[in-house]
Amino acid sequence: MDGDEQLARAELRRQIGRLEAQLGSLFADAFPRLRIDAGVAAVSSEPRALGLGDLEAIRDSLATRIGAARRQLQERAELETRNRELLERMLDAPAEHKWLRISRTDVGEPGCGHWHSRPRLGPLGMLMGWWRVRVSSGCPLSGRLAAVERERQESP
């Protein structure tokens, strides 16, 4: 009986190891687009050899977390696909998507850039219907940010 239980505990520990690897992989895949909650409540405040019940609870919680993480990733991927399709439509017809702004994050790409449907020549373009998509130049350079910070510190 005890031998059977020990085997069962060993099998549960093996399953926990496999699930932890899957969760770690999902966590890394999602970053930085999505923050996956990988937390599974501790069953003990101090380290100890766990019984079958506790090991089962951890295994089940990890499996639940993985299910939730996969759903989150799937939903995010669908949203990014829809945003990419919207971006293509905006690029084809900027005037039909006035003032719409889509960031690189919205389409699942790294960086700080965005696409923005804006009128050419300001108010005149608005009146004449001259719309175009402007692509931002990306993330601010660290040197520029440092200069702004210096100016702020120097100003009274």
């Binding site: 020990q6 505990r9 520990r13 926990i16 190891g17 932890e20 690897a21 770690g24 992989s25 966590f27 890394a28 970053f31 990988a38 937390g39 599974v40 409540a41 501790a42 069953v43 003990s44 101090e46 380290p47 100890r48 050899a49 766990l50 506790d54 090991l55 951890i58 990890l62």
Partner: protein, 223 residues
């Protein structure tokens, strides 16, 4: 199972000593082990080369490393072991993940003096969980076992709950397996000889443990 000198096939000196693991604990956790080395050294400010090494290590470690840490075999092995002993590694961090988090929050690995800086460098480089004890205050060989009724950890109020996994010497628990170190066994002002212990879990190769211990020893001896 007694303590004995490990084979130092690579010629690393000082060679590590294997501690024992209580048989029923070992049966539950195959691959769990402890080994340690002793080096002359006292706590204090890290010399300039150690601080420089810490700084260089900081410069090579970015946020992306921290995110992908849990996918690497050794940090993953410790995470799994934490789960298996009832700890949540996202709350009670594994040693290497705690250092990674501190690195991101502080903007670099802050110097905390010796021996802490030596342990930081070795843990970040290898992923191995390391502990420091005052070698002259340890009684005999180190081991991993579960606590007996009535045992406590010096400096912590109350008794350890029965079955808590501890690192112990031949007299008493020296610290939780992952967690607090007993005040009477920890490195303090009077320490002149330091025992560096590495806790090995299933999936962690012996060569990584030897390398971590050797790195700490080399850092402390050079200081």
């Amino acid at each position: 199972m007694g303590a004995g000198a490990a084979d130092s096939e690579l010629g690393w000196e000082p060679s590590s000593t294997f501690g024992w693991v209580a048989p029923h604990v070992s049966a539950e956790f195959p691959g769990l082990g402890i080994s340690w080395i002793e080096v002359d050294g006292k706590p204090g400010r890290s010399p300039e080369p150690v601080e420089r090494r810490l700084h260089e290590t900081s410069n090579r470690f970015y946020g992306a490393h921290a995110i992908h840490l849990r996918e690497r075999p050794i940090p993953w092995a410790y995470r799994v072991f934490f789960r298996q002993i009832g700890l949540d590694p996202d709350r009670t961090r594994t040693p290497v993940e705690q250092l990674a988090l501190d690195r991101l929050q502080d903007g670099g690995f802050k110097t905390r003096g010796l021996p802490a800086d030596a342990l930081t460098i070795a843990t970040i480089e290898t992923g191995i969980a390391l502990r420091a004890f005052d070698a002259e205050r340890l009684e005999g060989a180190l081991c991993i076992r579960d606590s007996a009724p009535g045992e406590s950890l010096a400096g912590r109020p109350g008794e350890l709950s029965h079955g808590t996994l501890v690192i112990a010497d031949e007299q008493a628990p020296a610290g939780l397996l992952f967690g607090a170190t007993g005040e009477d066994r920890g490195v303090g002002r009077g320490t002149r000889r330091i025992a560096i212990a590495a806790v090995q879990v299933d999936g962690v190769p012996q060569i990584a443990v030897d390398e971590a211990l050797w790195m700490v020893a080399a850092t402390l001896e050079a200081a």
